[in-house]
Amino acid sequence: MNFWSFFLSHRHEILTATREHLVLVCVSMAIAVAIAVPVGFLIVAFPRGRSIALAIANIFQTIPSLALFGFLIPIPFLGGIGTRTAIVALVLYALLPILRNTYVGLTGIDPAILEAAEAMGMTERQIMFRVRLPLATSFILAGIRTAAVITIGVATIAAAIGAGGLGTFIFRGVAMVSNAVILAGAIPSALLALLADYSLGLLERKLKVV
């Protein structure tokens, strides 16, 4: 069976899978950003928690993705079979790039600028929100971009625990030893990744200050 005929005859199914995939990615990314960005601010304000937070985020990143999905299945509330478990795993994966870039962006600021801010009588809070944050925005966005590309790729594995998405075709294709079926999942996934990378890259350049 060739790729185009499979693609055309299954286009509705592929579209549905793409939609599921996007939902998985968007929900996971939203949660990961909502956790990692504030934690990034906290570890800048309270440096004691820094190594622990970065180490935890690092550990999740080192677990092979298929294993992480597997580990989560028996865990009550968070785990089980299906979308919820997949989202938990994807969030854990996306945390590190966002957290690390938030931290680096907020702390990697020219010391002369921070000294000037302090000398002008800015409070800690004013330095954080009027100086560090605007100068770190493009860094934070770069982290979100990296995380988005990773998440789109890893989300294909979510099909292994019944969460749907484009991975469904990949797993099916592997089982059937059919490149056409694998490509029906892999190509849309790759296109999504490229699109996310390009559009977030544009936004990042637009927000870059120096």
Partner: protein, 253 residues
């Protein structure tokens, strides 16, 4: 006799608690309102540390520093800093803000009415010799080093502080731009009548800009003299500076 604006009382300062090596010791100095004082010394002589004790960017470990008759440690640090202008070599302009926003940072923090902030912006830009309309919407990266430094001075003057602290403000500039800015500094200083403390390692600059020169060496004040008398000083460190600047008694530029 003008009142004393800044007073150092036997100030001592160590590197940090773990490494109690003295950076400053026995610093005593009175600076009168409206005086321009240069702290002269080699790298590592403690001149910048001494400057930073005034606006509490640097804590001292013994003695006391008084600003306007009150120990800086009893001042609310935010209020203290907003009353003291601060200029550094790399200017520390905020790259994400326009020239106008940079200059008006302290007026904004102090919530001045918009009209007053705008007119003050024109005033201080005029003081440093820049045309307000030409620069208001530009970003620091679009300016030359000399222009950035002028904007840095305008920013320090914006909230009309009584004291101006300058840490090698002209150090990073080429000789011609530096001479320009030194001239601009003299014009500005004459017009604003502020207490100015200037850190420099350049004796010529100190002689040109300051009415009094305080010489530091290894964290101690080794000499303090009016600009006229400095060249006659009989102190080895003073001799070194004079020799290095190719200045001789009686032939001062």
């Amino acid at each position: 006799m003008p009142k004393t604006m800044i007073e150092f009382q036997d100030v001592g300062c160590v590197l940090n608690a773990k490494n109690p090596q003295a950076i400053l010791s026995g610093i005593s100095l009175e600076i009168a309102d409206g005086q321009v004082v240069a702290l002269l010394g080699r790298s590592g002589s403690g001149k910048t540390t001494m400057l930073k004790t005034v606006n509490r960017l640097r804590a001292f470990t013994s003695g006391d520093v008084l600003v306007d008759g009150r120990s800086v440690n009893t001042w609310d640090v935010i209020k203290l800093r907003r009353r003291i202008g601060y200029v550094i070599q790399e200017t520390g302009l905020f790259p994400h803000l326009t020239v106008e926003e940079n200059v008006c940072v302290v007026p904004h923090l102090e919530r001045w009415p918009a009209e007053r902030t705008r007119s003050r912006f024109r005033e201080v830009m005029d003081l440093v010799g820049l045309h307000a309309d030409d620069y208001a919407r530009r970003y620091p990266r679009e300016l030359s080093g000399g222009q950035r430094q002028r904007v840095g001075v305008a920013r320090a003057l914006a909230a009309d502080p009584a004291i101006l602290l300058m840490d090698e403000p002209f150090g990073a500039l080429d000789p011609i731009t530096r001479a320009d800015l030194q001239q601009a500094f003299l014009n500005t200083a004459r017009r604003v009548a502020k207490t100015i403390v200037l850190v420099t390692h350049d004796l010529r600059e100190a002689l040109l800009l300051a009415s009094r020169i305080v010489l530091l060496d290894a964290g101690r004040i080794v000499a303090s003299a009016s600009s006229n008398e400095f060249l006659k000083l009989d102190h080895p460190t003073a001799h070194q500076f004079i020799a290095a600047s190719e200045l001789r008694t009686g032939t001062a530029a």
